[in-house]
Point group: C2
Chain length 207, copies 2
């Protein structure tokens, strides 16, 4: 009694998770992140508080809606590129693919999140704290592609740069969303790619 891959159980779980994420973002945008309790969020999503914590390890995580499959998915993408593509390009493409996917599926949520993150920029930083294993996965993938030993700084730095690029892009996007978020991430990653040592001129990049 099972569609290949998605049982009734799985569907319900996905729906509950989405409902919790939605409720968190909606309420936080409406009244401010710390004027919303987990109790209220759970009520809004029609589940118990305990269930909330079965889905998300923390309120923070629910706000960002960190997808636990995003890490593995990106790592796979990185490794799937042919060897002619540089590790940097592979990583960059994976990040962008993930972001555009995400925005296509949940643009409305991001528009609300923006409001919350504008008032509490620290939440965006904290969000990345919870994804330590994902970072590990990604930097391992980059390391393998680059043929570098575990101890080398490059893979970790590249992944950390990706987080930083995303963070900065969201921050800028929150100020002015007339440019697509994907564009801003691209721009940021390009700067990391060409190196920060040379100062950009006034007219390059986000004016």
């Amino acid at each position: 009694m099972n569609q290949p891959g998605e049982s009734l159980r799985d569907r319900k779980k996905r729906r509950t998770r989405a409902a919790l994420e939605r409720a968190t973002v909606r309420l936080a945008a409406e009244r401010g992140y710390d004027h919303v309790t987990v109790e209220e969020i759970a009520a809004e999503a029609d589940v118990s508080v305990r269930t909330f914590f079965n889905y998300f390890a923390s309120k923070d995580e629910a706000l960002i809606g960190a997808d636990p499959e995003a890490g593995p998915r990106m790592a796979e993408r990185i490794l799937a590129f042919p060897d002619t593509v540089t590790p940097f390009e592979a990583y960059r493409s994976s990040v962008l693919a993930e972001i555009t996917d995400e925005l296509n599926n949940a643009r409305d949520l991001w528009l609300l999140r923006k409001d919350v993150l504008m008032q509490r920029p620290d939440l965006l930083v904290r969000a990345f704290a919870n994804s330590a294993e994902s970072e590990q996965l990604l930097s391992d993938a980059v390391g393998r592609r680059a043929g570098l030993p575990e101890s080398h700084a490059y893979p970790r730095l590249l992944v950390a740069a990706g987080s930083a690029a995303f963070r900065c892009a969201v921050t800028r996007w929150a100020r002015d969303d007339s440019v697509a978020l994907g564009e801003l991430v691209t721009e940021a990653l390009d700067l990391f790619g060409t190196g920060l040592a040379h100062t950009p001129r006034r007219h390059e990049g986000g004016s």
Copy 2:
């Protein structure tokens, strides 16, 4: 009855703050971060729990011992460099100066912190979340030196790169402290400087 600059009150405050930081790091290293309560930390430092929270906004902050003056100090250093120095170099030097100072004053604390951070890497990330205003200060300074408009990505990215470099350096240092932390930060910042687009060869940098 006052030495220029430092009254008895000021001295006591500095001592209490230091004692709380010390107690937090020592106990966390000893029994693991989340097997230590703020109550125990306060007891160890001989103050009330309420006083702990007068000094640090959170347990996390006490573990890292974020110096509230570090941001302004670095911003000042950045602006103090002559115009012949690039913004990148100015920033880089300021970061390194701060780190070497810190290590000279509290090397023992960092050796203990290392143990804690090895088991809970997320704490290092979270630590940077609390320093949003410092980041703002620094990126403003960089922006002014570079003559770029507020909205430009470069200053924010450079500062974010600095955080990332520091994080990665500490992580690597935690695995193997036979190299000075300052060296590792330098190496990481160099990679950011020259750009991540070109893949490093096997022998460059951390082997």
